[in-house]
């Protein structure tokens, strides 16, 4: 019937276009996310380089040296004194859970209930719980070996990233951990989501109650350096103003003691990231995992630095196989190769950072800046070598919550639903019985009563991604302007859409289909030409200010890095840094970016942001000042703010969405009795 065919043709085309849009949206989020991770790795490398190349008395060195003082040589009694919780009083007015150790199952369940009701655990109990956790973890091996004997089905969860609703949903559907319901949590419990500390406390509590039935693997985000950028540090300091610093220090130790992998029935390996050609479980079992920590790569530094994505060619693809792949041979310095003989750092980083790829071989993971990409042949070799049959890993967000690859020998499992945006993806967990065949349960935590249709979820996620992309475009305004002017030698102020796409691709270094995205980023054109000054106006509103434009653009583009450096410099974690320290921070940043900033420009900036006039700069207020107005059809619920550089707006209450590269919520102010 002709009518039927017409409708079917039309609808199928519609579905295909939606699918394409969904994939593009995914690409946007992912490429921005990984570019951020890469940036963090570079920052750390850079700071390490500074450490080695500045004289001991240099002020820059003093600012940052403390993050390189890893597990300082310190005897246990000293640590015990530092972490002592006993003199922390709990006021009578505190209505949260009061823990009595050794912790019981009722108390663990009570914690879950309390967090569900948005209560906060008092810092005294937090420290106590963490101390007990630390003691337990020190006794665990690098690789947990467990079994499905007695017909026990083991439940395995992937990344949670501070999304408490997902953990609660899993417990609701699957039951809380118990002797009959053993769990393995595969890393990345923290960062990005807003309830990272609550998730940790729950997982640790259950682990203390059932040490043989709750197993935690370390993820790449269980790392205090990463936490500086991706929100966990901020969350803890926000929720625990008095004792946050101690809690973070104790967590630093706990993270370093988390086991690296779990093996079930000697057949299934569970690890957060994956493998490399160097991975050998026997070697991994023997390392001192808590002593292994980041060291920047002396062999690789210094190399020309670009502050955006990979740097092999001007339009660097994010795919692992560039035209000049970076093989891991002795000839080419590998990406993140510590001193292998001594510390096996790179093998451990490989476990936590690597991603699978479709091609055979093993190459450096330049997209993330750490670990590698490994191919199906590596999987095959590895499984045969260790007599295993399946690798379960996480680390990458997947639309359906899970995905097989490498001939179904590698399974990616991701448990944070709606990770990029509401409706972007489902989460999943697995149950594994003695037959070792994974059984999947998918879910999507949402406070909406009805599931979003394909159209709604794509639309919403897309809007979010486009907003993030617009922010990136705006942040690169100066460079884009130069690039456009290259095409517009006669200074007409107009540029063809083709040239627009080329220029944007060259400046942004994000491997995205700009021509396809163009219609959503450029709305007013005349005969296929664009007035680019007008277009910049479309992207944002800015107050005129006496501060130099380039400086503002830089600040905006590198907010995340700047904030990270702030938090490193803020040694007492007070949220305030002095003018002088701010000047030094700025100098560090400009060295990192290889930019020249005059002292005058910095002074202007400093004066304009000290609203308290008390000679110090509040980090949060400073970061608040640089946000983008989204003029194009933002849904009313999206928060927006004006860019103000001459004065700061008062600190806004409530949550806000921060950068595209990190999902951070501001704490709503900690309850005064819980600090």
């Amino acid at each position: 019937m002709r009518a039927a065919i017409l409708i079917q043709r039309w609808y199928r085309q519609y579905v295909s276009r939606m699918e394409m849009r969904r994939r593009h949206t995914w690409n946007i989020f992912q490429s921005i996310e990984y570019a951020g991770e890469q940036d963090q790795v570079k920052l750390y490398n850079f700071l390490g380089y500074l450490m080695d190349n500045f004289t001991p008395s240099s002020s820059e060195r003093n600012l940052i040296s403390h993050i390189f003082r890893e597990n300082e040589v310190c005897r246990d009694p000293e640590w015990e004194r530092y972490f002592c919780y006993k003199n922390i009083d709990v006021p009578a007015v505190y209505s949260g859970p009061r823990l009595i150790f050794p912790i019981t199952i009722d108390q663990a369940a009570g914690l879950v209930e309390a967090f569900k009701n948005k209560q906060q655990l008092h810092s005294r109990y937090v420290l106590q719980l963490l101390l007990e956790t630390w003691k337990l973890l020190r006794m665990l091996p690098n690789i947990n070996r467990i079994s499905t004997c007695h017909s026990k089905e083991i439940t395995i969860c992937g990344d949670l990233h501070g999304q408490l609703e997902d953990l609660l949903l899993i417990f609701y559907k699957n039951g809380m951990p118990s002797l009959d319901t053993p769990y393995v949590f595969n890393g990345d419990f923290v960062d990005r989501g807003k309830d990272s500390i609550e998730i940790l406390l729950i997982l640790f509590a259950f682990m203390l109650v059932y040490p043989g039935d709750v197993h935690l693997n370390r993820g790449n985000h269980e790392d205090h350096i990463i936490n500086l950028r991706y929100g966990f540090t901020r969350e803890v300091l926000g929720k625990y103003k008095l004792h946050g610093k101690r809690i973070l220090k104790l967590l630093q130790k706990i993270f370093s003691w988390l086991p690296l992998a779990t093996v079930i029935d000697q057949k299934v390996l569970i690890v957060h990231g994956g493998l490399s050609d160097m991975t050998d479980l026997a070697v991994i079992s023997r390392v001192d995992r808590h002593r292994v920590s980041w060291r920047y790569d002396a062999g690789r530094w210094p190399l020309p630095m670009l502050v955006t994505a990979s740097h092999n060619s001007s339009s660097a693809p994010l795919s692992p196989l560039n035209s000049n792949p970076v093989p891991r041979t002795a000839l080419t310095p590998p990406m993140m190769n510590g001193n292998r003989q001594v510390s096996h750092l790179s093998e451990i980083l490989d476990l936590l950072w690597s991603d699978p790829m479709d091609q055979d071989g093993c190459i450096a993971n330049e997209v993330r800046g750490c670990g590698c990409y490994w191919g199906p042949d590596m999987t095959e070799k590895f499984l045969n070598k260790h007599n295993l049959q399946l690798i379960i890993r996480s680390h990458e967000c997947k639309q359906e919550g899970y995905e097989f690859c490498h001939n179904r020998k590698v399974l990616t499992l991701f448990s944070a639903s709606n990770y990029y945006e509401v409706g972007s993806n489902r989460g999943a967990y697995i149950r594994l019985g003695p037959d070792l065949v994974p059984y999947f349960i998918q879910y999507q935590a949402s406070d909406m009563t009805r599931e979003l249709t394909l159209r709604q979820s794509v639309g919403r996620t897309e809007r979010s991604a486009l907003k993030a992309l617009r922010e990136q475009l705006f942040a690169h305004k100066t460079d884009l302007l130069s690039a456009f002017q290259e095409f517009d030698k006669e200074n007409t102020g107009m540029i063809s859409l083709n040239n627009w796409a080329t220029a944007v691709g060259n400046v942004l270094h994000l491997d995205l289909p700009w021509r396809t995205l163009r219609s959503q980023l450029v709305t007013t054109t005349l005969h296929d030409m664009l007035d680019y000054q007008d277009w910049f106006q479309e992207l944002a509103i800015k107050e005129p200010s006496h501060v130099d434009q380039t400086v503002l653009d830089t600040l905006y583009r590198h907010r995340s890095t700047l904030e990270t450096i702030f938090r490193i410099v803020d040694t007492d974690n007070s949220g305030l840094i002095s003018f002088e320290d701010f000047r030094q921070t700025w100098k560090l940043l400009s060295a990192f970016l290889k930019m020249e900033i005059t002292d005058e420009a910095i002074s202007d900036l400093v004066v304009s942001i000290d609203t308290n006039k008390d000679g110090s700069i509040d980090i949060d207020e400073f970061m608040e000042a640089f946000r983008l107005v989204d003029r194009s059809s933002a849904p009313p619920s999206t928060a927006s703010a004006r860019i103000q550089c001459s004065s700061l707006s008062p600190k806004s209450s409530g949550s806000d969405r921060s950068l595209p590269s990190g999902k951070v919520g501001f704490a709503e102010g900690c309850l005064p009795c819980c600090c």
């Binding site: 019937m1 002709r2 009518a3 039927a4 065919i5 017409l6 409708i7 079917q8 043709r9 039309w10 609808y11 199928r12 085309q13 519609y14 579905v15 295909s16 276009r17 939606m18 699918e19 394409m20 994939r23 593009h24 690409n27 795919s319 692992p320 196989l321 479709d358 091609q359 009805r450 249709t453 394909l454 159209r455 639309g459 083709n498 289909p513 021509r515 396809t516 219609s519 959503q520």
Partner: protein, 162 residues
């Protein structure tokens, strides 16, 4: 004259880039091939509205002599370029679409029942799979009344098209 040729070249170059972008989305192994089952999505996302039959013809034309299950970009590009330049498989005008729905709506109620629509879509023409049907219903059906107000449905989806 030279300018025309330049323009024509520029246009073709743009078309090539668009096709390449769309193709790359499904080129998982980065070796300029895609699974043949994704060709439909790629073609449609570029703005074409082929029937399943026309799609199959297209695929047969660009497949290898011995079908491998994969389509190579070198074969895809010229044929796809031709399709776009000739503007084959033009978009369907909204009024034509409405007429089609009205044909199905024999009683001229202004809406179709979910069972009614399901019957047509899964039995006539080039039948939908169950999955396709469910997705269409979830987007189209008014959840309270269990009917599809097709005029609204058509407007809604057409707005999404750029």
């Amino acid at each position: 004259m030279a300018e025309d040729r330049e323009n024509a070249e520029a246009i073709i170059s743009e078309v090539h880039k668009k096709i390449s972008d769309a193709f790359d989305v499904f080129d998982h192994e980065r070796n300029k091939t895609v699974d043949v089952r994704e060709i439909g999505t790629i073609i449609r996302s570029l703005g074409c509205f082929p029937t399943e039959g026309e799609l199959q013809e297209f695929i047969t034309e660009i497949e290898e002599e011995e079908a491998t299950g994969y389509i190579r970009f070198e074969r895809f590009l010229p044929t796809m370029t031709k399709l776009l330049m000739e503007r084959k498989f033009r978009p369907i005008p909204e009024d034509l679409l409405l007429q089609a729905f009205e044909v199905l709506d024999q009683e001229k109620k202004g809406h179709l029942g979910t069972e009614e629509l399901t019957k047509y879509m899964t039995q006539d023409g080039e039948p939908f799979t169950q999955e396709e049907m469910e997705e269409m219903l979830s987007a189209a059906a008014d959840p309270d009344k269990n009917v599809i107000f097709y005029k609204d449905f058509v407007s809604m989806l057409t707005v999404d098209d750029k």
